[in-house]
């Protein structure tokens, strides 16, 4: 009986190992280097930070000015939200965005629209619990006159563990 049990365990583990091996996404290593960001990356890094700062400061007018009227926000495990609904959720007093980092941005320029992809790491709390973690965000911005406005946002959660650069510098005892 124990031998059969062990055989079963082995078979399951072996199958799981094969499955994990086959499904692991190919993720190229990040090479250490320092880039000269494109103009669009410079511009949209600024806009994304403005949006997040508006959320931090509960500045609904500033946030609303950056969204298209028909803006939709698609979050993980949730139905699409209209821009107004999303604003209400992040402007609520029980939502708190303590800190954030925007990084790994790339921008595809389509003329009067751009597709912006980036990683957002945040330390945040909502009524329902922690909203901290690392998120993969794809934004569609459209030009409206001279201003860029967010038309669509797609968010996927990468990790629930927030990591904030600079939040805990290694002490050297020499400062």
């Amino acid at each position: 009986m124990p031998i059969r049990f062990l055989q079963c365990v082995c078979a399951v583990l072996f199958a799981a190992a094969l499955c994990v091996s086959a499904q692991e996404p190919v993720k190229p290593p990040l090479n250490p280097r320092v880039i000269t960001a494109t103009k669009q990356v410079t511009i949209f890094s600024g806009l994304e930070r403005q949006m997040l700062q508006a959320v931090q400061k509960k500045d609904k007018a500033a946030l609303a000015a950056m969204l298209q009227d028909d803006c939709t926000i698609e979050l993980p495990d949730a139905d699409p939200l209209a821009g107004d609904e999303w604003m209400d959720s992040v402007m609520a007093q029980d939502y708190s965005l303590k800190s954030f980092v925007v990084r790994q941005m790339s921008v595809a320029d389509l003329g009067n629209a751009v597709v912006v992809k980036f990683d957002r790491i945040q330390d945040a709390a909502a009524k329902s619990g922690s909203d901290s973690g690392e998120f993969f965000v794809v934004d569609l911005w459209k030009k409206n006159g001279d201003a860029w406005k967010l038309a669509n946002r797609y968010v996927a959660k990468v990790s629930s563990v927030p990591w904030m650069p600079g939040s805990s510098p290694t002490p050297t005892g020499k400062q």
Partner: protein, 330 residues
């Protein structure tokens, strides 16, 4: 028939191997999910934010190091003396548009005259414990690598490594190697969508080689050019020369003040050039009495630097003095 104990041992061994394999695979997945900053210090791909957690080592500050100007010293070396710049022309540089021999000639002249120019001397405000950057660079030579194959970070490194290992360019850890690609070539790790160029370093042929990638920015004029016709354009709409000269200045300034990515950057991980990216300060317009090409003159292209009998449009750089600021010259 085998004894059951033997089967136990066999199964135990198999179980051990399987569990080990599972464990190793889990480690590999986890490695990819760890925030890059924790592994990529002092810099990470696409953002140097990852370095922000590293504090300045105040005791490493010597006479050659000045701090308190909005950019911090992290203990690594800078490149001192005259820094030779080597160029690898990758792709098709006998082609059309700005992918021509004229571009190669103008860029090589630009590099040869960049040393001790007003913009380059801004770098002399950076130093390490043994001295300061001189602000002098020289043109060390160039080769052409004809190819129609896109670059990756790996093949970029190989391109530099092969040039050195093959004796086509000298092995000089005190030099800076630029790979300049023609506009038909993509660098697939984010050229034109994330960046216009980058610098890094690697051990090649036993030396710590500093190298940079700059593509012909005519590939993405809206992303990497401040104007589509510059003071050195051979034709209207071909801003590649001036756009590349600007990105090369950015990368050279940073590579010299932070060659191993552990010397000078601010609390958000930005190096000196990053702090003034696409910030050009006061500019003039080309006119018929100036040094601009006919294309630059006809479009009244803007410029802000003049040296080596050419006008250039180069971004400002962060000076490590007077509290720090983006400046065109000291």
């Amino acid at each position: 028939m085998k004894h059951p104990r033997g089967r136990y041992r066999l199964l135990s061994a198999f179980l051990f191997v399987t569990l080990t394999a599972n464990f190793l695979m889990a480690q590999k997945v986890r490695e990819g999910s760890v925030p890059e900053g924790q592994q990529m210090v002092p810099t990470g791909k696409g953002d140097a934010i990852t370095v922000a957690a590293e504090p300045a080592d105040a005791n490493a500050v010597g006479q050659a190091v000045v701090t308190g100007n909005g950019i911090n010293y992290h203990g690594g070396p800078v490149m001192k003396g005259t820094v030779p710049i080597f160029i690898i022309w990758y792709g098709n540089w006998n082609g059309t548009g700005s992918n021509t021999a004229n571009t190669r000639s103008v860029i090589e002249h630009y590099v040869a005259t960049l040393g001790n120019s007003a913009p380059m001397l801004i770098d002399s405000t950076y130093g390490d414990n043994t001295g300061n950057v001189s602000g002098n660079v020289s043109f060390g030579g160039s080769i052409i690598v004809s190819s129609s194959t896109n670059l990756t970070d790996t093949s970029l490194r190989s391109t530099v490594g092969n040039a050195i290992a093959g004796g086509k360019l000298p092995n000089n850890p005190n030099g800076l190697y630029f790979v300049l690609s023609s506009s038909n070539i993509n660098e697939t790790s984010g050229f034109c969508t994330q960046y216009c160029g980058f610098h890094t370093h690697a051990t090649l042929s036993g030396s710590d080689i500093k190298y940079a990638f700059v593509g012909n920015v005519d590939r993405c004029q809206s992303g990497c050019e401040i104007q589509t016709t510059g003071p050195n354009s051979a034709a209207v709409g071909q801003g590649g020369i001036d756009g590349m000269a600007n990105v090369m200045f950015h990368e050279a300034s940073e590579a010299i003040s932070d060659p191993d990515l552990n010397a000078w950057f601010d609390t958000s991980g930005q190096e000196n050039g990053d702090k003034c990216n696409f910030n050009f300060g006061a500019t003039s317009n080309c006119n018929s009495n100036g040094l601009c090409t006919s294309a630059g003159t006809s479009t009244k292209a803007r410029f802000n630097q003049t040296f080596g009998s050419h006008d250039y449009m180069l971004q400002q750089n962060w000076e490590n003095k007077n509290g720090g600021a983006c400046v065109l010259h000291l």
